[in-house]
Symmetry: D2
Subunit: 490 residues, 4 copies
């Protein structure tokens, strides 16, 4: 019921962050918080703690559960401040040097930092830093932040942070540990989420509220777009390091990325999804249908919304196999044509001779959709009507979400009618952009300054794609410079 | 949406079996079949093939996915006959020698066998065999079958099988490879399931039909109670090796064990569960409720049934974390009291100030139920009414299901009223035994000769508990003899 | 300076055994004893203990050091009796089921056994046992002993053992734990070694005395050919279970197999080797030589003997690389022709322009010898004279030593003159059979009943090769029966 | 017969280097070269290659053999230039980030470097670099070189290298790959070795000539103290980047570090050791002795020298167990007092009732010496006379050798007489400093400017201990700065 594990035809969140100040079990609580945020990144994870004197770190490729299940590891991570990070598995570049949080031993002391998002001018900054003699050790955009901090000539840590933040552009929710403080920063437009909570006298930061629930922490508020909070023994200070800010939270967090049990900007993600489903039922009804079937697991809440709004019964017409791990049984070529279904199975009793409304959250490349429709038809469905709880995904994301290149996005290349044909459905409807805005509580999209970042649907990028515009990398893919380094470091 | 992985307060199926005759990719298809049957056993798995001349085997502790993902392993398993087995993790005795299928090089040739179930006279047989000089190498009841085959003085394999089968008692669905034949046997009362299918010209046997779906095989029929099928190049022979038989299929397969997308005895498991939910809504209504919430994942179909029958909205009020693996983050003692919730989280938006009907399939020890109720209340539920889609579990199973000792069964020790208090609900109702029979299509339970095995609810054991009665082990736990061996073999 | 690790052109001892009675740290001491006996077998090792009530076991593929370095493993192996075994890596058949000691839960109690040697009628016994309904689980000849014990109708353990021992033929030094006793048996001709020692009040058995030295135990005496010792709380009983016996100890133990620091039959192995070297210097002098160079490491003692007897200086003209592990860097084809020398290097300063006497213990296939001679010549040696401290190896061993098939033995196919040419030396001499007997203290070989087993040099096999003669396997290679089982068990 | 593996009471070489230019199998040859240099460092190893465009790297903790045995790894390391490194296991700091060669993606292109030795001003440089905004990622002194290269404002690579080399002080033999060149540098005093060889048209650099022998390369000459060679398609250029230089090669390489089959400065290491043994026999004779026994394996050549010079027979009175791996069987406390001898065993036949001259290369802490003497006495030796083939080790090394702190050096705290008593010998003699110089071919030590670095015996350090003098670390131990980083990076 959360983001589907290892689903290869979905957009993927590139990271989750967590931070805690003022708890003797800081590292254990961070491990639990990261566990709750596992859906935001499954490639690698790490924790850095501070005990008032020293920093301690543990990073590994793999899931939080296995990385931090050894009590010896947690014990080693002493201290009352901890920050942690989950990393999503992008193709290539998956090596230990890229696992966050990053740490640098700078002239003024240690500095540990991690972030969720993507810096849109990371390449330009990197090239200029290397030109001046900085030595990069990873291919991650996060390392730029360390070098900027190391080189800042400002005297106080707060000034160094402010200077550094004003050099970077993009979408980022950043958590750092420096000078005895836990620091949290959200980019000027608040594209990626970051929430603030309390656990007794301790202060907690996390990408989503589900990381508070797991440890029994209380949600206080969202960090504001462009806000920096500094937490230390004197309490929480709120600073505005950026010259200007707005509010363009990523609307896709409501559609798919966030866990349904999280609240973001005070709204229940599960409720938003159900409302999108209801809106979809209004915009794209299917009155003759016998049954509403979600594509598990991410399509479930909007399917329930659709079913409740339309009065058509909700049924689990597709069953997931729970035991899909990282290691797949690879069917041999000879039996692949048998149409082996490792992940899903049709629940025939509820599909045979039925007119089926199939609800899914998005279509990216369309490969999985086609297979699922085929399976539903093979189970005897009379008609298959696909309803998608997002508008067509026509543009790549450069703000921390792993999207295929634009020319691989089905909705970029084909009309809805063409897609319907290609995936083999009797009808296909996406929710409209305005419908989506209505579902999340707006009257409509405010075209001049939209309330959310919806670039993947509209192509309106709220932060300049600096590297891309300056042909300095494409903002998300590694440049020649980085590729070279990847080979030499692995 | 299948049997919950690693759920520790559930009854557990002890095995799944699969067999195929007449396919050049027999081992790969068996691996896929076992993958679909993974919910029936997660400790270990194995496959034995026959290529017309030699037997080939691979067995390992671990899931099917990782054990058989190496193409080299599948390649090694040559031949057109294959049998496979998933083993459930019972405490102790988890070592490689116990992993099925078992193989013996007997005087008349090789014999490979595996089964799902439990032999109720295995201890008695073992003691008598050891007394006569047989050497046991495992602590599994299955090995008894090998020794009986080895010692049979009959001349034909068919006669040897018949003689062997008439020595063993209990519940078993057995798949074997011997003399160029694939053999399938179901115990005289058909307590454990076994279905027959076709994949082109190949013949397939499996515990459940979901193992046919994954490879695109077609369901033909259920093996009949007390039937033995022998499959070879001449086709399928059906034999009745037992002197008498009946029909007492395990009713708990419908309630919990089987995958919802399977059909057993021609009935959709998912549909049975929904009907139990509907029946439960009639027997134990909760008219003031705002919301019907399943305990995920096994409670979902009956909760949908309950919701549809009652008209109360179905909501996912509890969210599961998908990333629970074999290795758990163990919260330290100091933070355990925070009530860390590794597996589930409350979806507060749908519980707060609500009257909640919580639907689950069973209560065994009651430990998980209490925690879940606590979590639902902490999320702000006004009232919590628990509805259970099985009658109270008052007796242990000796037919292949891992049940706690009877004195640990909550329903054995306490009245429904007391249980309600202990788990903290405002009301608690189980479906009645007759209601359960109605839901699965009977008018009522036929008391003199019930249509199903329902011993765990009624204590009426259809097969004599020979070892137990004769104080020869208790039929399910290892005796001193076996314990001794376990230590010496590990 | 012991048997060279992983040397592939040598004969190899197939096992080492150890047993201890009456020590609270029995398992730890057994692990240490096996460590000292590692040169007798590197594939796998195991220990079985008895604590007065239960047997405990641990077996694994790999070296003793890594298998038993985990204190938890040793702790698990409770008790005051322990037996242990090192297994040599024969090609194929290397799987856990074959790792000794073997254990059986027999009608009269547990029985654990392991042995060093080879049963020459194991196949015949196995076939007859399987024909009567015994179920074999390994492909090891040792399992025959278990079945014979299991089936014996005698009443006392002593009688069962005696009956069993009179069924088996071949060369074996056997250690068992049964009925509260530690049992040691040496075959009627005493072909394989077995020594008895004391450690305080505890009694120790081992293949060689070096296993006593490592734990500070005191050597008492060799077990006599055909003797069985039974050790329990009442002390040590000596029994003669066999009808007749002789004394034909394997003379190759002195030449190569045993560790140089061991004493066998009261004689220092190192001293025997030096004496063989001296005798060789007398039989095959090389008066013009500048330097005596051993092929490391096994040729060192006889080279010292040769040098001292001849007055020619001993020099380490060939240096071994200590870091050759199980995993080899495999040179690619393209650079193999460079003549990469992973294991040895010439010490040029002592070979250049020198007349070199190269001393080695044996030539089996001759492959390594040729390479070493080439290397010595490439380093500038003027002449190379090879001296071998054993007679030509013309026959295979069937008594527990891994020898190639006879047609792969260089000395079976070629004359000494031809071998000299093939390996590229200026002269080649082996010690004579009589010279060898003189070196170990005899006046000469007693042809009618030789004092030692020297079958590999003379072809006179002191124990009938029953399986071979009866075409029932060839005594050492697995038969079709076993091969079939190997595939099905792995 | 090489540096003893894992010997804990010896000084240890901290590294070995290898480089090759102009061979299509550069990486495979480097792996073989590192394998031959394994005695110089066993903790970790790495290779970086360049194929004309990209750099490729593989680094791992562990031995060369296992790290580079996977053909896929070698295949990945494309190119005709390769450099490689073996790292010694110092306590702490053993993590992947410290494994060389290091690589930096600098403004002018990639730069890969590794070295054997120790920079005596690394801490001072590091602190100043961090103060200016450089970000360190390891705790290795080698990283300083990367930063200096990155920050150099010179225009050509040659000038950048020269500038960098003039900033660093200490003992170092450095191999680098940059700008299409293979670079080799030896420190101004040539303290650590570096030799140049040819393999057909390819050029090779290595710490010792044994790395040439393994691949069949030909020795050309030693790199001169203070020389830099640049190898590219135009050939080999020799440059003098330092303002002044001398010749103070580490004399301990002859005594213990180098492999006996290597030639350094044109001299056979084995021959030097034998000559030291002969000189020792003259300086400290033992005319009554029966036998000369080396402490294996490093004492063997000098024992042979002693034996030949004195006419007393050389015997292997102590036997090593070849199977000591990284994982030790840890004897329990209860049996430790039995005096368990995991590594060595006395060859009693040659010690009993004998007057023994025991020859070893050095005494560091004295712990092993005491145990060995005890063992020799327990074997029945009448008298034990220890002869050491180096002068007393009274001072720590700061030039790349792992020495204990000075106050743990036995010869720093005690007189020879006292040491003799403590280790329990009847007499103890070290070779004199002048005797040592004579043995390696000098008439005597030239006191004003000695021909070798002998600081560990004399305390005369030829390169200023800058960090130590300036209290900036102690040159060899990590400072607080580095310790902090170690915790935060691991």
């Amino acid at each position: 019921m959360t983001a589907a594990p290892f689903d290869d035809d979905k957009l993927h969140e590139e990271c989750g962050v967590f931070g805690i100040y003022g708890h003797p079990e800081a590292s254990a609580l961070t491990a639990l918080g990261l566990h709750a945020l596992q859906h935001r990144g499954q490639e690698a994870c790490g924790i850095v703690t501070w005990d008032g004197e020293d920093f301690f770190a543990h990073r590994a490729l793999g899931l939080v559960d296995s990385t931090f299940s050894d009590p010896g590891v947690i014990e080693k991570l002493k201290g009352h401040i901890a920050i942690g990070h989950n990393r999503y598995s992008t193709t290539g570049g998956s090596f230990l040097r890229n696992v966050q949080p990053f740490y640098g031993d700078l002239s003024f002391g240690g500095f540990a930092v991690c972030h969720n998002g993507n810096l849109t001018n990371a390449q330009s900054l990197r090239e200029s830093l290397v030109g001046n003699g900085s030595l990069f050790h990873s291919t991650s955009d996060t390392e730029v932040i360390l070098h900027l901090m190391a080189l800042s000539k400002k005297t106080s840590i707060l000034e160094k942070l402010t200077e550094t933040l004003n050099h970077i552009q993009g979408a980022f929710s950043l958590v750092a540990s420096v000078g005895g403080m836990l620091v949290g920063v959200r980019d000027p437009l608040g594209i990626r989420p970051l929430v603030l909570g309390k656990l007794g006298s301790a202060t907690v930061l996390a990408s989503e509220t589900c990381a508070f629930d797991i440890i029994g922490a209380e949600y206080v508020r969202d960090i504001k777009p462009g806000e920096m909070v500094l937490v230390d023994e004197k309490g929480i200070r709120s600073i505005q390091p950026f010259t200007k800010s707005g509010d363009r939270f990523c609307i896709f967090e409501y559609i798919y990325f966030a866990r349904p049990d999280s609240h973001l900007a005070g709204k229940s993600v599960y409720e938003m999804r159900k409302k999108i489903g209801s809106e979809l039922a209004r915009e794209a009804p299917c009155p003759t249908a016998d049954v509403v079937v979600p594509v598990p697991d991410s399509g479930v809440p909007s399917a329930i919304g659709y079913a409740q709004a339309s009065g058509i019964p909700f049924e689990l017409g597709i069953i997931r196999n729970h035991y899909i791990g990282r290691t797949f049984i690879e069917p041999t070529d000879q039996i692949r044509h048998l149409g082996v279904k490792l992940k899903h199975n049709a629940n025939k009793a509820y599909l045979k001779d039925k007119i089926v409304v199939l609800v899914d959250d998005s279509i990216v490349r369309g490969t999985t959709s086609r297979k699922i429709v085929e399976m539903v038809r093979a189970a005897g469905a009379k008609e298959v009507h696909m309803r998608i709880s997002s508008p067509p995904t026509t543009h790549s994301c450069f703000y921390g979400i792993d999207t295929p290149e634009q020319d691989q996005l089905m909705a970029h290349k084909f009309s809805t009618q063409e897609i319907a044909q290609k995936i083999g459905v009797d009808s296909l409807s996406y929710i409209s952009v305005d419908g989506l805005y209505r579902a999340v509580g707006e009257t409509s999209r405010n075209a001049p300054t939209p309330q959310y970042c919806d670039a993947c649907f509209t192509g309106e990028y709220p932060v300049e794609l600096f590297d891309k515009v300056n042909h300095c990398g494409n903002g998300r893919k590694v440049t020649a410079l980085q590729e070279r380094q990847t080979k030499a470091q692995s």
